[in-house]
Symmetry: C2
Subunit: 344 residues, 2 copies
């Protein structure tokens, strides 16, 4: 680093993952308990019998949420889902969270109560304890910091950098719904700004809006994988879109990938909304984000086993690193996929 020359590099040039890689160092840890650090869903800390997993997230008003159409209770709920999904994505069990709030002067106590109501609702559902945090005033928007802590046995932790060539690429749920829900909410907001129509008509869009405002995490699938005796070779929670998160695993694992257009699960309602917006439904599925689904890889010989799990779909396979990242159409044509997630 030579800042003496007053070099000015825009952050856009590096991108989110590039920036993290650029400013952080991989050196020998000072503490024996430090197992793995930056670069995965959560940090791993050796606590004796079990490994402790820790992950932290920052949610900023105007970037991650818009209070015009996000009920505060849903916001609290989603903040918890976002945090614990990083622990699940390491195949760990989330146990505690800490919540920090930066609160603007316009907020009332009752509004903060609403946020916490959502937080506690998610905590109860996912059996997580709220154990601390920080509260501070904010000059600008609402800021939420969430730290999630969990545990896992050493040998059951699944990382991002351990996928192998020929491994099957598996996903849970469907994709693009949260993104299309956001587009609908944004459209209604613009209408409201322009024409002051008070009651937006969102009937028939319950699924995509629900996926945006109140996401859930597919915990059941993790249990089913355990019961089936399947330990994924790599895993990530899909928060930036299938393309971005899959390519992230590929880059860290040193592989390429090939997925199939017709295999990427998209809900009917998502497709309908996408078409209303003149968007190919594959686009939000690949690059929308906020799906809070799992993407993982398993060795090819696990195909029969994984096929038996109803909540899991195989969408492609890993290739060698020089093959690049591709999506194949039904006609055999192939297109390169790129990481275009929001980068949040």
């Amino acid at each position: 680093m030579n800042n003496a020359e007053n070099k000015k590099t825009s952050i856009r040039e590096l991108g989110k993952f590039g920036l993290i890689k650029h400013v952080t160092r991989r050196s020998n840890p000072e503490n024996r308990s430090t197992v793995t650090g930056i670069g995965d869903d959560a940090a791993v800390i050796d606590s004796g019998q079990l490994m402790t997993l820790v992950s932290t997230d920052l949610l900023l008003e105007g970037i991650h949420f818009n209070l015009i159409y996000t009920p505060l209770k849903h916001l609290g709920y989603k903040a918890v889902i976002r945090a614990i999904s990083d622990i699940y994505a390491m195949n760990g069990n989330p146990e505690q969270i800490l919540i920090s709030l930066g609160i603007g002067s316009r907020f009332t106590v009752e509004q903060i109560e609403d946020i916490y109501e959502g937080i506690y609702l998610a905590c109860e559902k996912y059996k997580v304890d709220l154990v601390g945090g920080d509260t501070t005033s904010s000059l600008t928007g609402l800021t939420i910091g969430v730290t999630a802590i969990g545990s896992a046995e050493k040998n059951s932790i699944v990382r991002r950098d351990t996928a192998g060539t020929n491994d099957l690429i598996c996903v849970t749920g469907d994709f693009g719904a949260a993104f299309m829900g956001l587009q609908l909410l944004e459209r209604e907001r613009r209408l409201f700004d322009k024409e002051k129509i008070m009651q937006p008509d969102l009937a028939g869009f319950e699924y995509v809006i629900g996926r945006q405002l109140k996401p859930e995490f597919p915990v059941k699938t993790l249990d089913e994988l355990r019961q089936a005796g399947i330990l994924p070779t790599s895993m990530i929670d899909v928060t930036e879109g299938v393309a971005s998160d899959l390519i992230h695993i590929c880059k860290l694992s040193g592989t390429g990938c090939k997925i199939f257009y017709s295999k990427v699960p998209v809900d009917y309602e998502t497709s309908r909304v996408a078409e209303e917006f003149n968007i190919d439904p594959i686009t939000p599925a690949l690059n929308g984000g906020e799906d809070y689904e799992l993407l993982f890889t398993v060795p090819p010989d696990q195909f029969e086993k994984v096929k038996m799990i109803e909540s899991v779909k195989v969408i492609g396979y890993m290739t060698s690193s020089d093959s690049g990242y591709h999506i194949a159409g039904d006609d055999g044509s192939e297109v390169e996929i790129t990481a275009q997630g929001w980068g949040q």
Copy 2:
């Protein structure tokens, strides 16, 4: 909570600690590993042989720092000190930190490098590993979330709610310096805004400005206490001022307190700057904050032992809960002290 009536309570009415108490619940934890939660410096998690301590902090531009006079490297350094001080204040050993950054579009990669340079400098000095975090764009100011993780043996953890009547109140270092440093920097900023004087004259103010921009934590004292066989009955890191943090311990422990005006350590330079601002030096010492010193209590029979530790000063003693919170002057007069910390 009955929000149906659309009640609007201002957050100011409750205050920071009141708000946290109001919105959080104390219920039976879902997870066996959850030991203590909200209300202390850090959360305690049972990890088998050792307890895991976790604490999280949010630092917001315009509230916790002003980039006009805060070098980014110092900001990174201070963020680490702030986070690990919560672990030390439980008598634990900080081992890992996670840093989340919310970055406005005006920032360059080189500026983020500067922040991380300060972060790594503090990590090296305090032997802490940076193991993760989150990076996101921000529409407004710079936002820093820091999570610190540490460990402690179960029996050596020191809490805030366990001080006893008659216990001696002890402190490290001196107080009010960081606050007066901030006043000086603010004065220079106002001068600059008004007269565009480019080179502020801060000669002779190195100590108070250093305490504001690059605080250190008195780790040595924790070692000395261990070597002397002293386990404090309660402990807190002084971040809101002696009065606010002492009263916080009193409220949680169910005690009153009496401290002595002449015993509260204030550096000569702090006094000089306070007088220049026409402030009684005791005011920033009691209510300034950001001192990053330790305040702890020991049983009265430990007086001889604690007296031998040069870095520790006894400033008073705990009283019964109905006695209130007082500071006594040399002439025997007593004044009530109140919590007036910044509440950040």
